[in-house]
Symmetry: C2
Subunit: 499 residues, 2 copies
């Protein structure tokens, strides 16, 4: 990776003024920057105001923090020893932030927090509706507060001042990017579904209201439309889809299933609602993949005995998406559930409670973790939606699963999903397992890449322009594939291998 | 004059979005601006935030206020019917402001006020010293307050809101420009006399702390050095010296005498302290040229009878610079004073009071206006300084007064000076009278020109780069010429005609 961060430091040794060289301070600095290869540099007044004292205090050796803007280079600050940057992923559920030392390019810290908009509605569209009904300011302020809390924590934990942070790269879906920038989301859910902005936004810490240097360069990834946001573009950047010779598939599973298919010649994206099940939202025991959640499940032959992996070990408090996929796959393989997800009555570990039959995963029924039939069917609905989206999507461009060189799995499932389990239940296609690549929070990773390499700005613009959006819910075949996908693995298992 | 103001209005008819054109609002606007001939336009976040509602409220017909920046064009505001601009002259003594309708190019109003820094010292260098001794913030805040009061008055008087003002062009001497921008003046009075900035400054209303649109384009004229400020460059622009084929002289008389000599091939500037006499600072009766001050004086043959012109008529309260020049010239012609400025004892209208002899100009001695011998000699010192600066300056480039095609007289004297009187007392050279051109506050006029024609930005940069500064007080011949110039018109009258 090229180390050309969004903000960087330049040390300049200026000739001190003399009776034969009365060039003014700013003009002197401008000239030195020109000689250093920056022909056009803009300056905030705040820097001009401090320049004379800083120059003389430092014997006319000055460090200048430079930042890449849309059109050129801007002076962000002067007289700093270090430059720090933040990569942000603004998810509907979680906000994740990485802190970087931009001089070395090394990641110093990473934190995440809940999106404070959650109380306005877990579903993004609910938030948009509330915004349209007069709560826009609260939603924007809430999100900003959450982001700033995360920034404050990162600064405090690493002994930095807000002013130390000179660059921020931000990826999020279209609606989150809008909320982050305080832009109107009113027209996104209404035909013809037009965002306030798609192109990338370059702004400053002050304009964006962030607890960073007021002049900091803030870059927000472009969107490719209302339904293909900067998070996907950032993920594509990270996965490198736009550089592949042969088609690859990129799946980001969050509240929605976002699918991208493409290579260096074309990229097509689509999204569909898959329900919250896959992100750990099924039933009471579903949790996002935090310490204490079950991430892997193995059930003994004939349904005897259960073996769990818990993130960071300890007492399990819930089960995350990948654990759930394991669980269903193992229950099916062990014969505890049939193809439709119904309990077969075989195996041990079941419990009758409040008139409902449940399969116990951990502890005793009352205080422990257990799953019921309706919860399993709820999960199967999500997996069916996901598979049918994939199938219809790939088929729509005249390809089959066999043509896909790689499948990148990002998002909540991208941390620990076992492709074997996912294929076993018919959620992911049955292709050679080595073609599956788990890439975790690729939106954050892409934002990190860009923070560390401004040369990628053009690449991001190219990717954004390449993407075609495909409306998936309008496909006629979708419903018939989905009906079969409600069963494990599918009523037509050959579809899993390519269709 | 070309009407291409610093900020202007553009009405754009955008195609409304449709299912076949889902371009986002900002991208749509950007594209329309590209088609209108603005390939690179930057946008503040504040505009992006309002754009979706404004577009839909106006049926996708949008007016955009554009402003010229250093590198390109910036959107200042949207959905405005009118665009207003301010030209500011920040003088050490007075601040003058003109308000323009930038659509029609017509001047709506003009106001002036005292520079609130005056209590810190009438002399600019005193203010610099006090700034260096810890009062920088008070000086900057004071000036800003004065400018904002003037802006508020102009807005209120013309029923405008602060946001209506989209462009401000500012001219002032180097020190005043620095105070205006909140830049350090600490190094200006100390060898090697280096300002914080000479190049022009493009900033915003918000950064400059002005009561105008926060995104307004604020342009501050460049300086050519510590002693040749933006006010002179602005004056040169107004007089058009840089376009003349043959040498012309430009004299701006304020607290200092600023002299510029040049043509399209070269420009030389210099300044010297001439004392406050010429600006109306002599004795108790001196006043700046406001309503109620005497601007013209005629004395009858043999010193009998006196005839006065009062600005706006009425009871005179003082005498301005041009009136004073008239008065001395007339007193000399009538034989009331001799060559050295001493009372000859001839003529009427003298009064003995507190042991001092005074010549009564108006009213009775006690409550009226009268002038004493020391005051006349004080005036003669100023006129001597001024003439000798002119003489030495012109001679230093190998020219004589005969070679000068035009003499522009700007500043306090530029409003109403009678060249005949000025030549008569030996203040201005004895060249054909039609070569004198009175141009008033040329610093303000130049700022007005630029406000109305952004095409002049390059011309200003060219002028600033052309100017050579000449240190006048170091000239050996100066003192000998000055000694003779203390007499009326001069001990060597041939010097007045070219030397």
């Amino acid at each position: 990776m090229n180390h050309r961060p969004l903000a960087w430091l330049r040390t300049l040794r200026l000739d001190p003024p003399s009776s034969s060289d009365k060039t003014a301070d700013m003009d002197r600095l401008r000239k030195a920057l020109q000689q250093a290869g920056y022909p056009r540099v803009s300056f905030p007044l705040s820097v001009m105001r401090r320049l004379p004292d800083e120059l003389r205090g430092k014997g006319f050796e000055l460090t200048v923090v430079l930042g890449q803007t849309e059109d050129g280079v801007r002076v962000i600050d002067i007289s700093r020893e270090k430059v720090y940057g933040l990569a942000l992923d603004i998810g509907s559920t979680n906000i994740e932030a990485s802190l970087f030392d931009l001089l070395s390019g090394s990641r110093l810290d990473q934190r995440s927090g809940e999106n404070p908009q959650l109380p306005f509605g877990a579903d993004v569209l609910t938030r948009v509706q509330r915004s349209m009904m007069g709560e826009a300011e609260e939603l924007v302020r809430g999100l900003r507060l959450g982001v700033n809390r995360l920034i404050d924590t990162l600064c405090a934990g690493n002994h930095l001042a807000a002013e130390d942070i000179a660059a921020v790269s931000v990826a999020g879906n279209t609606i989150m990017s809008h909320f982050f920038l305080g832009l109107s989301v009113d027209n996104i859910p209404v035909s013809p579904y037009v965002p306030a902005v798609n192109g990338p936004v370059f702004t400053t810490g002050r304009e964006a209201g962030l607890n960073v240097n007021g002049e900091a360069l803030v870059y927000v990834f472009p969107n490719a439309g209302s339904y293909v946001g900067g998070d996907i573009i950032s993920g594509i950047l990270h996965a490198g889809i736009h550089r592949e010779e042969e088609p690859v598939l990129f799946i980001d599973v969050g509240t929605n299933v976002e699918i991208t298919l493409g290579c260096r010649d074309w990229i097509m994206s689509g999204a569909g609602a898959a329900g919250p099940a896959l992100e750990g939202g099924v039933a009471g025991i579903g949790k996002k993949a935090d310490p204490g959640t079950i991430s892997k499940v193995r059930i003994g032959r004939a349904g005897l005995g259960i073996d769990l992996d818990v993130i960071n070990d300890g007492e399990p408090t819930g089960i995350c998406g990948s654990g759930l996929i394991d669980l269903i796959s193992e229950m099916f393989s062990a014969g505890l559930i049939d193809q439709s997800g119904k309990f077969t009555g075989k195996g041990e570990g079941f419990l009758e409670q409040d008139g409902k039959r449940r399969y116990v995963i951990y502890g005793n029924g009352k205080d422990g973790l257990a799953i019921s039939e309706p919860e399993i069917r709820n999960f199967l609905l999500s997996k069916a939606a996901m598979f049918s989206f994939l199938y219809v999507f790939v088929k729509s461009v005249g390809l089959t699963f066999r043509d896909i060189r790689k499948i990148y799995v990002a998002g909540a499932l991208g941390c620990g999903i076992d492709p074997e389990s996912a294929v076993n239940i018919g959620m992911l296609p049955d292709i050679p397992r080595e073609r599956f690549v788990l890439i975790g929070n690729s939106s954050l990773s892409g934002a990190e890449l860009l923070l560390l390499d401004r040369g990628l700005l053009d690449e991001v613009a190219k990717v954004a322009a390449m993407i075609t959006y495909r409306e998936m819910n309008e496909d006629a075949e979708l419903m018939s594939v989905l009906q079969g996908a409600l069963f494990i693995p599918h009523t037509q298992p050959e579809l899993l291998r390519g269709g």
